[in-house]
Symmetry: none
Subunit: 208 residues, 2 copies
DNA sequence: GCTTCTATACTTAGACC
DNA sequence: TGGTCTAAGTATAGAAG
């Protein structure tokens, strides 16, 4: 019943949840906080989905800071193996174990499983990504074939799908050509395990 | 202000969201509906997490009916391929192993069922793959941008490198566009092209 | 099996610890 | 980094199509 006449503004220390756009959070700190919260929520959703619907769910998340987190019911190893293309099998095995430990309904408080080797890998990945950004300009000059972002944005779902498929084919051709040149230049057999990645990222398309 | 005297109960066609326990939904129908809804929500969360926090996120979900769904930024398809090698024995063994390790939840009985679903999934994936191959022609028509294999073979190392870099940028654009469509679809509740997106692999280039 | 509608239950942005 | 609190934005159970 008592009314706050003197300091009505103090009654609202929080404005509550604000609406936000789904776009990269610029503030590093805010991004980190958001990541922690949403990661927890994300894994919780994964857990609920698997339990409520008896579905198999696996999820892997790499924080912007370089840590790896995972959830899996009944297993997430397949996902992790994909993320460890050029690492030793030892790292893969360890990560796999950790992932399984927090699978199922466990969820508890922490899915925090970090590995030094993973961290190194992620750093390499990030470096690769940055290098890629720098090259975007150069790309335009040589790519008389490639469409502009605007073109891509204009594509219909069907077109995008078709284009994506074509992209994959071209990727294969480029990859093959690169291998060929590598062999010609070095006059050796291929060594995929050690040489690997020049800095080109992956192509991905989510499906529904 | 007319009053509903005769049928007051009609005023509440819905009780709104009810609280539920996080445990397997017994009703097969209800479970299916729940799966559809939550799967969409789950992927949306994954998308938001990756965008808001610049995190790498990958998720795979196998429906109780045996269908596979996935989301990944920047990639997951490759993971699925690992999970679904053409030799079903490998996948089967791996899944079984993973499942047993995690058997602490009394899900043992479920495992056999899930195993069966996996087989169905493998077939679905194969079909999808073939379909993708068939589309490569269509892509040529729609893809007025993409070069022919011959063009790629004719490129100099420098050109190839530049082109590869450009390719990567386009991949990013396509990926972003696809993510956008996913978000729009989920937001609007409209059905996107469905099914077809599974077969896109990753691009890799050895370095000199 | 996926969508729509409605009334809630649940999640989380922002500020602080 | 992870926990707390508030208020508001979202996700979704249930019912029906």
């Amino acid at each position: 019943m008592a009314m706050q006449v003197a300091a009505p503004s103090r009654r609202r220390p929080s404005l509550g949840r604000q609406k936000i756009e789904i776009r990269r959070i610029e503030s590093e700190e805010a991004r980190q906080v958001c990541f922690s919260k949403r990661r927890a929520g994300f894994f919780k959703k994964a857990s609920e989905l698997s339990i409520l619907c008896s579905a198999d769910v696996a999820a892997v998340v790499f924080s912007p800071a370089g840590k790896a987190y995972s959830f899996g019911h009944p297993s997430v190893e397949c996902l992790l193996e994909r993320f460890l293309p050029d690492s030793s099998s030892g790292a893969a095995a360890r990560v796999r174990r950790g992932a399984n430990n927090n699978g199922g309904g466990g969820m508890v408080g922490e899915l925090n499983r970090q590995y030094g080797e993973l961290r190194a890998m992620v750093e390499a990945h990030k470096a690769r990504r940055e290098r890629a950004d720098e090259k975007i300009e150069m790309e335009r000059a040589a790519g008389r074939w490639l469409p502009m972002d605007a073109d891509v944005r204009r594509m219909s779902p069907e077109e995008l799908m078709a284009f994506g498929t074509g992209l994959m084919a071209v990727q294969a051709a480029v990859s093959a050509r690169a291998d060929q040149m590598l062999r010609d230049a070095l006059l050796i057999g291929r060594r995929p395990p050690t040489t690997t990645t020049a800095g080109f990222g992956f192509f991905h398309m989510p499906h529904y």
